[in-house]
């Protein structure tokens, strides 16, 4: 009898751990690593990354081997057009390739204090012009180092 009472009391106490804090673990950014075929980082001279149908452009005239791009939270897919420059036979060539990612939007109310937020999961590659892409992680979480890899 005493044991049951103590066990119940412990269960009640354990359930008193109070409401979730406002720390968000999700982002609406897809993280993309740009790599060489040998799996090493490939700094790419990007002219711009544009989103068709919007005025948004990201990474104008930057050379990077890693990009983070926001997905549209009011849609189930977002297309990015990569405009970049590569050297072919010592000649600089302007290239363009598109990448369309799909995802599922979820809305969650964290708490009365923290409010609601929208997050994305189940990331997929719907279509792409890149010859070699790899989906690494389908969750758009802060802790996830990379969602996609594009090989040049």
């Amino acid at each position: 009898m005493k044991t049951i009472f103590v066990l119940l009391l412990l269960c009640f106490a354990a359930s008193c751990i109070e409401p979730p804090d406002c720390l968000l673990t999700s982002t609406n950014f897809v993280k993309i690593n740009l790599k060489k075929q040998d799996n090493t980082a490939n700094p790419l001279a990007i002219t711009s990354i544009a989103v068709p149908g919007t005025v948004l452009t990201f990474y104008p005239n930057e050379t990077v081997s890693f990009v983070t791009l926001p997905v549209n939270p009011e849609s189930n897919e977002t297309t990015f057009v990569f405009n970049y420059v590569i050297e072919e036979n010592s000649v600089k060539v302007n290239k363009s390739a598109s990448l369309t990612v799909g995802y599922k939007n979820e809305i969650r109310l964290i708490s009365e204090e923290c409010g609601a937020y929208q997050y994305q999961q189940d990331l997929t590659i719907l279509s792409t012009d890149f010859t070699n892409t790899k989906l690494i992680n389908t969750s758009l979480l802060i802790a996830v180092p990379s969602n996609l890899e594009i090989y040049f």
Partner: protein
């Protein structure tokens, strides 16, 4: 061997039922004072609960029915829910020799509800600017289990008071459409795998037969 065990068990049960008379002696009907006080203290919560039990020797078959609604503001919006729930289960009395039939009990419940939720809020992103979201989860059902512990004390004639502490667990919902369920009426926050509740109750006992 099995036949001997079964027949011995049957004889023991027969003797037990003769000795203790497994017939109900009274029906208790009551309500939770905490829900009523909470409803009158502010505008956020509105709810009530009816609690009943009937005794069969040391076992009490219980049935509760309640209503729960909440309206609250959140950053950039508001949230509200409303629903009705019931619980059914059994309490086991551990004070068998009390002359007033006061009880300390442990028990369990199965609980189920029907509810709806609305969430309105604004979000901002680089694609769409500020967007107003108006989301609903309608015709939802929820269920969960409870372990209970508490007291029932006879105050005067048929008037009883008591409390019930509830460890609620294993919540499940069905029918969500617009957003992840936030609060399950009768249970609490849907994200919490265990939740606790406390009722302070008053009862009136209607005798069904003489003890």
């Amino acid at each position: 061997m099995l036949a001997i065990i079964l027949s011995t068990s049957a004889l023991a049960q027969q003797a037990d039922s003769v000795k203790h008379k497994f017939l109900p002696t009274g029906l208790r009907i009551g309500t939770d004072l905490i829900s009523i006080i909470q409803s009158n203290l502010g505008e956020k919560f509105n709810g009530w609960e009816v609690n009943t039990d009937v005794d069969i020797y040391r076992y009490y078959i219980t049935f509760d029915y309640g209503s729960w609604s909440r309206h609250t503001t959140i950053p950039t919006g508001n949230y509200e829910n409303s629903g009705n729930y019931f619980r059914v289960g059994t309490d086991i009395n551990f004070l068998l020799k009390d002359p007033d039939r006061n009880m300390f009990f442990l028990g369990f419940r199965y609980a189920q509800n029907n509810f709806s939720e609305q969430l309105n809020y604004e979000s901002t992103d680089v694609y769409n600017g500020t967007v107003q979201h108006e989301l609903q989860n309608n015709n939802m059902t929820g269920r969960w289990g409870e372990l209970t512990a508490g007291l029932r004390v006879k105050i005067w004639k048929g008037f009883w008071m008591g409390y019930t502490a509830r460890l609620k667990t294993a919540p499940a919902t069905k029918g969500e459409d617009g957003f992840e369920p936030y609060e399950i009426p009768g249970y609490g926050l849907a994200a919490k795998k265990t939740s606790w509740g406390f009722n302070y109750q008053i009862f009136w006992r209607i005798p069904l037969r003489k003890i």
